[in-house]
Amino acid sequence: MEKSRYRKHVISVLVENQPGALARIIELFSSRGYNIESLNVGHTEDPTISRITMVAKGDEHTIEQIVKQLRRIIDVFKVRDLTDKKKLDRELLIVRVNVESAEKKEEVKRLVDIFGAQIVDVSHDTYTVELTGDEEQIDAFLELIKPLGIREMARTGRVAMVRALQGDTFGGERV
């Protein structure tokens, strides 16, 4: 197999919302040595169906294999590689930063304003900020606040959906 370029792929999977389904998907990755960068699960408008969004790095051949292997899982309805599709692509970040001085407090508020983030929790020397955005925005925000001192952070990994006008959504053709 020819090796093609190595890049991040966003894969969206619709799966029966039942025990074992997620385990099977994760196992497929671990048993074949594929690396998952992030993985996000939640149910859809139909509570019996979950949507998994995963980001995995690999060349085209590897990703094609991942997609085919995912399709083979009995509980999986649909698998789409969204990488080259027009899509809505978001991630949630919660980060607690040090703000011991007035200057630092001002700096955080300024960045929060610019990025359209929110301060959701406050203590005498920390602010906790919530930000939703695409991966680049979140990376940029983190880069800027890093010098202030990050105490703790959590990010969800991406969730993604194809834009409606692409005519290429999962909707309607699902079951």
């Binding site: 025990p19 074992g20 385990a23 196992e27 294999q65 085919k68 083979r72 009995i74 509980d75």
Partner: protein, 579 residues
């Protein structure tokens, strides 16, 4: 009417058409075993759960039906693992039922508890843990549907003890209704456009080869494949799993390809300009070095599992679908194309002549002996004595490859062998399952002295039920294939491959209640085989004491190109003829 979970299970099995199961009881499945005598299903008590899984596998491979096995929780379930993995990798339909501790104890490290669904997830097509007796019937139905449709495979159903005890309504009519699993819809029919493209490619190729895999056997596509070879003048080669798909003596059939393939098969694939793979998965034992496998060929790949297509080798014309259904569409297209292009025959005849020349110049060959029994000679004699009509099961190693090379199979499902996993200990229990499935056939297990010792306790199972299997031990006092590799690649350092201490197989088998025979000289081989053939009420084991250092040839060194074979020393053959 309310039935217990155990009764629901057994009734559901009856409705699935199950009449033979292989298993081993234990605490967690006692409610099921308690009801077993009151249903129409015959249960075979093996001596180890691994034996039960392999027996169900052998049964499924020869009948084409779903094999069923039972085991208890914990060690019962873990003992099934090798058997399930063996069946799964060879795409054999099996439904395995395991007991488990009651639902309220699951996850407590209770006595004889393991996470069975967790352990078996990677080695099954699908598995279920039934947590409520209300879901039981539906789960059994789904399990059989998944096991037998699409690419066949193994489904495991884990049953906590309380689920088998509780009472629930069971409606037979409801059970018999067709099933839908909304997320599982295997593609069976090939894409018409792709089929047309394939037919054109077949018509325009000069040197096509049909590469036949186990999928041809399991989908029942054999006749159609042979017909296509004949209609379009195409040489055929088969994988280990594909052997028996087409008659071994067909003039267009050139044997197995790959690591121990024939010279003609490997050269035909290397030189072909179109490779038509049907129900085959380009296993590394077949392809050798991928870049030199059919290096100048266009590839058509017909497979029911889209994940197999393009997995190892790039494919030009992929056709996802059941081999038989695809061939039903493809064959008439090919016939049309052939009718249009009369020159086709002219091209192809020279190609077939070429492949025949390879086969004649470098046939399968070993140096015969009248002093020591050659293992290949034993296989040839088994073939003669059974008129080529026995079902052959094998274990794994040299004897398995000699069977593949020297037994000319006549009809599909005649060879039962662990192809993908290479499971030693498979042969004897698989033979038991095969004989249960096809009592009308002679079932011969060809084993090695190493392999036989891995599940020889199952001879007792055969004795208990009067299952008249025959076992031929090709006894060279070595783990023969290990020794062969050590000889060729490890400078003859036979580390831990010599079986210096052996049981006396004849006395051992007699002690188990079977018949033990031995042959030590070539002239005894036929005699003991005929003796074995005359015994029809119990298992017979023949200990063939063979040449200790015979190698399986041809051989492609691992990672090498399949055209680069180590061949037998034909020099001596020529000399002998001259004399």
């Amino acid at each position: 009417m309310k039935l217990s979970g155990a009764e629901i299970l057994l009734r559901a099995l009856e409705l699935e058409g199950v009449d033979r199961i292989f298993g081993y009881p234990g605490g967690a499945v006692l409610d099921i075993y308690d009801r077993l005598p009151f249903c129409s299903i015959k249960h075979y008590l093996t001596r180890h759960e691994q034996g039960a899984a392999h027996a169900a596998d052998g049964y499924a491979r020869v009948t084409g039906k779903v094999g069923v096995c039972f085991a208890t929780s914990g060690p019962g379930a873990t003992n099934l693992v090798t058997g399930l993995a063996t069946a799964q990798i060879d795409s054999v339909p099996i439904v395995a039922f395991t007991g488990n501790v009651p639902t309220f104890m699951i996850g407590n490290d209770a006595f004889q508890e393991v996470n069975t669904v967790g352990i078996t997830r990677p080695i099954t097509k699908h598995n279920f843990l039934v947590k409520d007796v209300k879901d039981l019937a539906d789960t059994v139905k789904k399990a059989f549907h998944i096991a037998r449709t699409g690419r066949p495979g193994v489904v495991l159903v884990d049953l906590p003890k309380d689920v088998t005890r509780e009472l629930e309504d069971f409606f037979e009519e409801e059970y018999k209704a067709p099933i839908q699993i909304r997320s599982y819809k295997p593609v069976l029919k090939g894409h018409p456009g792709q089929i047309k493209r394939a037919a054109k490619a077949i018509a325009s190729a000069e040197r096509p080869v049909l590469y036949i895999g186990g999928g041809v056997v399991s989908s029942g596509a054999s006749e159609l494949v042979v017909k296509m070879a004949e209609v379009a003048n195409i040489p055929m080669v088969a994988t280990l799993m594909g052997l028996s798909a087409v008659p071994g003596n067909h003039p267009f059939f050139f044997g197995m390809l790959g690591m121990h393939g024939t010279y003609a098969a490997n050269m035909a694939v290397t030189e072909c300009d179109l490779l038509i793979a049907i129900g085959a998965r380009f296993d590394d034992r077949v392809t050798g070095k991928l870049s030199e496998f059919a290096p100048n060929a266009k590839v058509i790949h017909i497979d029911i599992d889209s994940a197999e297509i393009g997995k190892n080798k790039a494919v030009d014309i992929p056709i996802v679908g059941d081999a038989k259904l695809v061939m039903e569409e493809l064959l008439p297209e090919v016939e049309k194309q052939v009718a249009k292009n009369r020159e086709l025959y002219a091209h192809r005849e020279s190609w077939i002549r070429q492949v025949k020349r390879w086969a004649e110049r470098y046939p399968l060959w070993y140096e015969p002996s009248d002093r020591v029994i050659k293992p290949q000679f034993v296989i040839q004699k088994i073939w003669e004595v059974t008129k080529g009509e026995a079902i052959i099961t094998t274990d794994v190693g040299q004897h398995q490859m000699w069977v593949a090379q020297y037994y000319k199979f006549r009809f599909p499902r005649q060879l039962v062998t662990s192809g993908g996993l290479g499971t030693m200990g498979f042969g004897v229990p698989a033979a038991i399952g095969a004989k249960v499935g096809r009592p009308d056939k002679t079932v011969f297990c060809v084993s090695g002295d190493g392999s036989f010792q891995m599940n020889m306790q199952e001879i007792v199972t055969a004795v208990q039920y009067g299952i008249a299997i025959k076992v031929a031990i090709i006894n060279n006092g070595f783990l023969g294939m290990v020794r062969q590799w050590q000889g060729i690649f490890y400078d003859r350092n036979y580390s831990q491959s010599s079986l210096d201490v052996q049981p006396d197989f004849v006395r051992l088998v007699e002690a188990m209640g079977g018949v033990g025979l031995r042959a030590e000289r070539p002239q005894d081989v036929e005699k003991v085989l005929k003796e074995a053939m005359a015994i029809n009420d119990r298992p017979v084991v023949i200990d063939f004491v063979v040449d200790r250092e015979e190698d399986v040839l041809p051989m492609v060194p691992p990672g090498g190109a399949i055209k680069d074979m180590i061949l037998p020393d034909y020099g001596r053959k020529v000399e002998k003829k001259a004399v």
